[in-house]
Symmetry: C2
Subunit: 343 residues, 2 copies
DNA sequence: CGCAAGCCGGAGAACGCTTTCCCTGTTACG
DNA sequence: CGTAACAGGGAAAGCGTTCTCCGGCTTGCG
């Protein structure tokens, strides 16, 4: 039971008829690169197309050409500024390259991620970009890998964001190095007693950042006491909870809390403030990512900058590049702000 | 010159052969609703599909069925939390309904928006959701409308977010009413002297919020002096600039600054603080939207809550609903926090 | 003037599916 | 036991494109 007024979309056939040419000619005039079509014909077709307001059916083109111009983008949570900034870069670069982006969100579930990869594969995208925050100890891991390898075998490109342990191309982020540098600079500012809020230990990104930070401190013979490292959700609320956990066991003489991501740091800031502790004065806080909002919290947060939009762009660039082994790594830079005054 | 190892993807044909059945039967077993296929055949097909790791080619399905399961989502800026929250809702609801989301960003340009709508139309999506912040005085407006109407004529659904002046379905947001209520409650708190930072006057959303606010004040005989209303970019930096503009002409006895969106309010907060003015003490600030970050700025921002994720869900629900005239409106609620202490 | 060599339009196959239609069982009922 | 009804598999016709041929026309050259 269709709605009566529903008209079938204009097809290339209609355009060809209107222009009085063959289907082939119409196709060539509108897209079909290579072969030339005589100017008189060409303009007849173009006019007809415009008159009828023709839009080529992308699905039909895809099936005829045996391939799409689609980028499938998988993120953990699009409302998280980390991912939305990366997505912005991916989308921008894709549009510049004439690619359409289809997007799905895993909601941080690896089961869901696998499911989505499988579904997305049906799209026959040119490129698949995975910017989840993956855990490394999953049983699904192997299934995911083989799914992706099957995809690559049919000519698709897979690019991960910050996932150097998987057998795929990745735009690597200097997580460990950045955190190490941050530790050094904080030590230089005079900090000696640290606590840390991290995500699940299986989260590669969280792990790299924490271990980089720890290493950086170790260079100066500083250690974070085991009980001053709390692991929570890798979210704003996780940061909030983490700070409270730290608070609950007594801050004692802790001078600085390092949260492995800015969203966590921001949550921690709020928790501290609610407890009547003034961040930046009573205790210092540092994060990682340099998401836009950290400039607007109080005090502005010291962090490690990742050019997130650029990360997204690079992912597309990597996917589109022809030479394989060009694994790309993004440089991070420490940004000190008022949340870590020098002591 | 293809890469040598590139294998053609598994097709339904392959599955049928492997299972020793006809194409038709294979198709029916894997998707083809209606007709039953005998259990023995069905499982043969399913096994074969699993063995070959078959994924149906969505493009081919689309062309055969004459329609996709795609939602095209257009936003102004995916890195803006307002839009990314809405997008989260759209994506979530779409996935629940078995729809794939393709996304494009207009970067706040109406020319680009038109271009994208045209391009997206080629996808033959089931639904198109436009969550731009549209201006009303565009020459492109008519072109956009007719493009969208053409899309609807072929059976597509168009849903706008918060755009009640266009001849399309929309999930309406109580912008004016919410702002009016905010004004009332601020007056009740004891505020009398206001300033406002707004976006371009042609931006419907900004206009509605400002005029609602003004009306709300008028109920108590309060006016905002003309020179205390500054119009800037509808972004964080716009808010920052707006506050500085206000500062430049002297705050005098202004008690509260109303910014028509939270991102602007957050920018304003930073500008004030940089100028050595303590928001929440020296001057009050209120925003609109209740994006997640406003809970974490200092002081926490008073604002008008819009359930943004729900807005996205509703957009999909509206698009999928069969009865046309169900224009949906989202209720907003005032949330008072520390940025507007009672006087 | 004859013929090879472009150029370029058109017919039609192909892409990977769905779906209609046909046709062969099988069941049920008088 | 005859036949009508139905179940369900398979062949083949699409769906809207692209692309490979084919062939007619023009050109150019000996």
């Amino acid at each position: 039971m269709e709605i009566a007024s529903r008209k079938a979309p204009v097809t290339l056939h209609d355009v060809a008829r209107e222009a009085g040419v063959s289907l082939a000619t119409a196709s060539r005039a509108l897209n079909g690169s290579e072969r030339k079509v005589h100017e008189s014909y060409r303009s007849r077709v173009l006019d007809a197309a415009a008159r009828l307001n023709y839009t080529p059916n992308l699905s039909a083109q895809a099936v005829a050409k045996g391939g799409t111009n689609t980028v499938a983008l998988l993120v953990a949570d699009i409302a998280d500024p980390y991912f939305s900034s990366i997505a912005a870069g991916v989308i921008r670069a894709s549009e510049e390259a004439g690619l359409v982006v289809t997007m799905a969100v895993t909601e941080r579930s690896t089961a869901r991620e696998l499911e989505l990869v499988r579904a997305l594969r049906g799209q026959r995208p040119r490129v698949m970009i995975l910017a989840g925050s993956r855990s490394s100890t999953e049983t699904d891991q192997d299934a995911l890998i083989s799914e992706l390898q099957a995809f690559e075998a049919t000519g698709g490109r897979v690019v991960f964001v910050s996932q150097h342990e998987l057998p795929f191309e990745t735009v690597a982020i200097e997580n460990a190095e950045g955190a190490k540098q941050l530790a050094r600079e904080l030590v230089a500012l005079g900090y000696r007693r640290f606590a840390a809020i991290t995500g699940s230990r299986t989260l590669l990104t969280a792990r790299d950042r924490l271990s980089g930070f720890v290493e950086g401190l170790a260079e100066s013979g500083i250690e974070i006491p085991e009980n001053r490292i709390v692991a929570t959700e890798f979210t704003r609320d996780g940061g909030f909870d983490g700070a409270n956990a730290l608070l609950a066991q007594g801050l004692d003489d802790t001078e600085l809390i390092f949260a492995v991501s800015d969203v966590m740091a921001v949550g921690a800031l709020s928790a501290l403030r609610e407890a009547g502790i003034v961040p930046g004065e009573d205790i210092a806080v540092a994060g990682f990512d340099d998401i836009p909002t950290v400039r607007d919290v109080t005090p502005p947060l010291s962090t490690v900058n990742i050019p997130l939009v650029e990360v997204g762009r690079r992912a597309i660039a990597l996917a589109l590049s022809t030479d394989d082994t060009a694994n790309d790594t993004i440089t991070t830079t420490v940004v000190l702000r008022d949340s870590t005054p020098s002591r």
